[in-house]
C-alpha cells in the first residue's frame, strides 16, 4: 500500500445534464452522475464518443454547453480558480520537460498545485520512480514518462482525479502500481473519473457508457 498523500477537502462532485460542443458540433448530451468521496467512475465508449471532452469539461478546459457541475451541492464553474485546485487532470500529453530531471518536473507541478512539501517524493516512491528521480526526462521511456505524469496527479492534494487513458504504454507492474495508487487515493476519501479501454482493477467502480449519451442529431438545416 503506497504511503499516500491524503487529499484535502474531500467532497462530492456531481454533474447534472451536462452537454458539450466542439466547434458547433455536439459531442455528448445529458450526462449526469455524482461522485462521493471514495467513489470511482470509469468512462467507456468507442473512440470519439466524448470521454476526453467530458474530462476536459470537468477540468475546466472546455466550457460546458449545457447542464451544471456541482461541488457538495453548490453549482461551480470548473474554470474557477478555487475549483481548479480540487481537481487534478491527466491528459493525453504528459506535460514533461525533457531537459529537466524527473524530480524537477514533478516538484514544479507539485508546488504550483500547492501540494505539501514531501508530496513529490512520496509520489515518486509510489510510482516506483525513485531510482530515476535525477534522470533527465528526455532519457526516460514512454511508460516511465506516463508514470511520472501519473505521479504528478498523485502528488497533488486534489480530492478529484481526472485520468484520460492513464494506462497508455504502462506495463503490468506499472498497472498494479497505478491500481494501488488509485486505491490509496480512494481510501483516503478521494475520488476519480477514469477514461480507459483497459481493465484497471478499480473495485466497485461505476461505469458510464458514453455511447448512451450521444447528442440528438443536428437538424438538417444546421448541417453545412
Amino acid at each position: 500500500m503506497p504511503a499516500h498523500i491524503a487529499p484535502s477537502r474531500a467532497g462530492t462532485l456531481a454533474v447534472r445534464d451536462l452537454g458539450c460542443l466542439r466547434g458547433d458540433v455536439p459531442v455528448f448530451a445529458g450526462v449526469g452522475f455524482a461522485l462521493e468521496p471514495g467513489a470511482a467512475l470509469v468512462l467507456r465508449g468507442p473512440n470519439g464518443s466524448g470521454k476526453s471532452s467530458l474530462l476536459r469539461v470537468l477540468a475546466g478546459l472546455l466550457p460546458a454547453a449545457a447542464g451544471q457541475i456541482l461541488w457538495d451541492g453548490t453549482p461551480v464553474d470548473p474554470a474557477d480558480e478555487a475549483h481548479r485546485g480540487r481537481v487534478a487532470y491527466l491528459g493525453h500529453a504528459d506535460a514533461l520537460k525533457p531537459v529537466l530531471t524527473a524530480r524537477e518536473n514533478l516538484a514544479f507541478w507539485a508546488r504550483l498545485q500547492a501540494a505539501p512539501a514531501d508530496a513529490a517524493q512520496a509520489a515518486l516512491d509510489d510510482l516506483d520512480l525513485a531510482s530515476l528521480a535525477d534522470t533527465p526526462v528526455g532519457r526516460l521511456s514512454a511508460g516511465q514518462r506516463r508514470r511520472l505524469a501519473i505521479a504528478r496527479v498523485a502528488a497533488s492534494a486534489a480530492p478529484v482525479w481526472l485520468l484520460d487513458e492513464p494506462a497508455v504504454s504502462l506495463d503490468g507492474a506499472a498497472l498494479e502500481r497505478l491500481a494501488a495508487v488509485l486505491a490509496a487515493h480512494r481510501d483516503a476519501g478521494g475520488s476519480a473519473v477514469v477514461a480507459t479501454h483497459r481493465t484497471l482493477g478499480l473495485p466497485d467502480a461505476r461505469e458510464l457508457d458514453m455511447a448512451h449519451h450521444e447528442p440528438a442529431p443536428l437538424p438538417p438545416e444546421a448541417v453545412p
Binding site: 478546459l61 474554470a79 485546485g85 500529453a93 520537460k97 529537466l100 514544479f108 504550483l112 498545485q113
Partner: protein
Amino acid sequence: MKEGGAVSAGMAATFAHVLGRDLRLALRQRGDAALSVLFFVLAASLFPFGVGANAELLARIAPGVVWVTALLAVLLSLDRLFERDHLDGSLELLARAPAPLGVIVAAKMAAHWLTTGLPVVVAAPIIAGMYALPPSGYPVLMMAMLLGTPCLSLIGGVGAALTLGARRGGVLMPLVVLPLYIPVLIFGVTAVDASLAGLPVRPHLMLLGAMLLGAAALAPWAAAAGVRQAVA
C-alpha cells in the same frame, strides 16, 4: 486586508516559481537564447554592406539599425514563449493550475525578456560601436532599450498567445505583432536622435516608460485570454 496580503504573497510565489522554471529551462537549452543575440549581431552587421561604409551615414542610422534588428531578434524568439508548452501539454495544465493565469503568463514573459531582450540590450553597445555612434548617445540608447525591450516581450507575448495553434501561426504572428511594435520603435529611436541633437530626452524616455507600465498591466491578462482560447 490580511487575506489580501496572503493572496498577493501567493501570487508573488507563483510568479517566482514559474520564472525560476522558465529560466532553468533556458539555462539547460542555452543555444536558444544565444541564437537571438547572434541573430541580432549578424543582422545588424549586414547594413554596412548594403549602404556603404560612410562613417557619417552609419552613425546617422545607428539607432534605427539597433532598434529594428533588436525588434526582429525578439520577434524570432517569441514562438519559444508558449509554443513548446502548448505542444507538450504543459500549457493546459498551467491554464488550469490553482493560480491566476495572468500571473503565470507574466512570469513567462519576464523570463522571455531576461533570456532574449536583456542579452540583446547587453550586445547593443557592440553594434553601436561598429556604427560609430557618438559616445554621448550610449547612455540614452541603453536606457531606451532597457525600457523598450520589455515592451517587446510583453506585446509580443499577446501576439504569440493569440496565434497559438493557428494554421501558419509562424507567419501570422509577426503580422499581428509588428504593427504594435511601431510606437516602441519610434520613441526608442527618437530618444537617441534627440540626445545626439542636444534636445531633451526625458519626454521620449517617459513615453517609453509609460508604454512599459501600460503593457505590463494589460499584456499578461490579454495573453492569458489567448492561452485559454488555445487550450480549449
